[in-house]
């Protein structure tokens, strides 16, 4: 196939209405359309699977059939540009927000934003935790405290929504989803903190004050400035409680540029004898 052949094939993959490219055939002379359709199905189902993995709650909210149709529209509008599909689908929230068929669920786009943040958090860079002793030393020095700059984990994301996105997401993790959803008022504005801790990605609802505080820390503002931002957002802001929450969530990373991320594990020369045979023999 020359360049125009590949281009025609590419078009036919994305668009079921595109003509079947010339120069393709079947050994028995049969119509190649159903054979070409195998490739088209492969592409669509592979990308739909990626989106379904990234957006399981969106899929539950709209149902499998609606989601498949939404994914098909999205894949045609935004085909991947990179073979690293772990990062495919980041434009789905915006696509949902503009999609007429999805407009019946006004919170859907924000739930999608939350799930994209979870996807990014899952694969975000690792950073060593802030050692408890370092923080304890800083807290013991009230003069330096306001100027302290805390560093948040690279996986941390903060979302503000006019909808109860953290509660909606949490309800979909329950055994009885319908029962849990019945207790949620989707129209309640909510802030959500997304963060990877050990091997799981957490979703935590934050008060307005705490969200303003964390948002300021995200912008590398000093602890003093962040506390003022928290208070400005809500008179009920509690600095000690917010700091304790960040500690409990392991949201704080060691200060200063983290040491070079784990280099390739030791250049182990030869494996120990018999390691070919697996561990259980």
């Amino acid at each position: 196939m020359n360049a125009s052949g590949l281009a025609a094939f590419s078009r036919a993959l994305r668009d079921p209405r595109a003509p079947c490219p010339r120069g393709l055939s079947a050994w028995n002379g049969s119509d190649v359309a159903p054979r070409l359709a195998v490739y088209r199905n492969n592409v669509l189902s592979a990308l739909t699977d990626v989106l379904a993995q990234t957006y399981p709650v969106v899929r539950e909210l709209v149902g499998a059939g609606f989601f498949a149709a939404l994914a098909a529209r999205f894949v045609r509008a935004h085909p991947p540009r990179s073979p690293v599909l772990a990062r495919y689908g980041g434009r789905l929230p915006g696509f949902v927000a503009a999609d007429a068929a999805a407009a019946a669920l006004p919170y859907l786009a924000d739930v999608a934003r939350l799930e994209w943040a979870r996807c990014k958090a899952w694969q975000a860079a690792d950073a060593p935790l802030l050692p408890a002793t370092t923080l304890a030393r800083a807290l013991a020095d009230p003069r330096r405290l306001p100027r302290l700059r805390l560093r948040l984990q690279p996986s941390l994301a903060l979302l503000r929504s006019g909808h109860a996105i953290a509660a909606l997401w949490a309800a979909h993790q329950a055994d009885d989803v319908a029962g849990a959803l019945a207790a949620v008022d989707p129209a309640q504005p909510q802030n959500a903190l997304v963060l990877r801790r050990a091997d799981e990605v957490l979703v935590v609802a934050l008060s307005d004050g705490a969200a303003a505080f964390v948002g300021a820390l995200q912008q590398r503002q000093t602890l003093g400035a962040a506390a003022r931002a928290g208070l400005a957002a809500s008179a009920a802001f509690d600095l000690a409680a917010s700091l304790a929450l960040l500690l409990r969530l392991q949201a704080l990373a060691a200060p200063t540029p983290a040491p070079e991320r784990a280099p390739a594990p030791s250049p182990s020369p030869t494996p120990p004898a018999g390691s070919d045979r697996g561990p259980t023999r």
Binding site: L24, V32, V84, R277
Partner: protein
């Protein structure tokens, strides 16, 4: 990767996230685990960390789907750099890619697409294999494709094309026996004749998988390489034929859809292991 020992000539399993805990606990007695290269291209998190731990006890192999060796453009330099980082961190014993194209015009198609078996394509793919081998400092394994239609204009047979590619580039062959069966049925050709025309001495790894059966517009069987079913009886027969000629080769049970519990896949791996053991010279068994 020149210094990495080769994959052990044993049965291996494709690593699925659902099996990670069991795999880390050593609940599958397999020679190696294979991971998809593109899934490792993340900044951090649990997946690469788990592979670090798994790699301490098991040989790993790396299987790529995104290099588009048959594409018009030379291999994407950014992708080669990502591959080099993955290889430096996880130190796989082997890295394989497909004889296919998977992107065009800056789009990635997320599928392995068919090539024309002609001289210009051969020259292009050979150049891409050369460049990949040089950039990564390794001997690439190239996998024979599963295809559903014929691209007109071929001047070579598929097996001849592969033999010529191996001869020109010194790459190794990842022989996917399921793909052999799928393509043989889908193009009305003889699987054994195809295998006989391949450079079997270059086989560095074997893949086994299951397929689904569909029909083409004329009602002829059309096999779909789904990786979603147990290895088919016809594939086992072809595999035994191959191993009788090549001797033991690292053999992967591939399963990407409807993934059963690890023990079910381990049973298929054990079946491959028995076939490998029969082909193993007596002195190896005594050792």
């Amino acid at each position: 990767m020149h210094d990495a020992p080769p994959l052990p000539p044993r049965a291996g399993l494709g690593l699925k996230a659902a099996h990670l805990r069991d795999a880390l606990a050593g609940r599958a007695d397999v020679g190696y685990f294979e991971v998809h290269a593109e899934n490792c291209m993340v900044e951090g998190g649990p997946w690469p960390a788990a592979l670090d731990r798994l790699g301490e006890r098991h040989a790993l192999s790396l299987h790529g789907v995104g290099l588009s060796l048959g594409g018009r453009r030379r291999p994407d330099r950014a992708h080669l750099r990502r591959l080099a980082r993955v290889i430096a961190r996880h130190r796989p014993r082997a890295y394989s890619e497909h004889l296919a194209w998977s992107g065009h015009g800056g789009r990635y198609h997320a599928d392995l697409l068919p090539l024309c078996w002609d001289e210009p394509t051969l020259a292009r793919v050979a150049a891409h294999v050369d460049e990949t081998q040089q950039a990564l400092g390794l001997r690439l394994l190239v996998e024979n494709p599963a295809t559903y239609l014929t691209v007109d204009g071929a001047s070579l047979g598929e097996a001849q094309f592969i033999a010529e590619l191996v001869a020109r580039t010194g790459c190794a062959l990842l022989l996917d026996v399921c793909n052999v069966q799928v393509s043989a049925v889908n193009h009305g050709r003889d699987a054994l004749a195809y295998l006989q025309a391949l450079p079997l001495a270059a086989v560095g790894e074997i893949h086994l998988a299951g397929y689904a059966v569909d029909r083409d517009a004329a009602g002829a069987p059309l096999l779909i390489d789904t990786h979603g079913a147990p290895v088919d009886a016809a594939v086992w027969r072809l595999y035994e034929w191959v191993i009788a000629r090549t001797g033991p080769r690292p053999t992967l049970i591939e399963r990407d859809r409807d993934v059963p519990p690890l023990a079910v896949l381990a049973a298929e791996a054990a079946r491959a292991e028995r076939i490998l053991a029969r082909a193993r010279p007596a002195l190896r068994q005594a050792a």
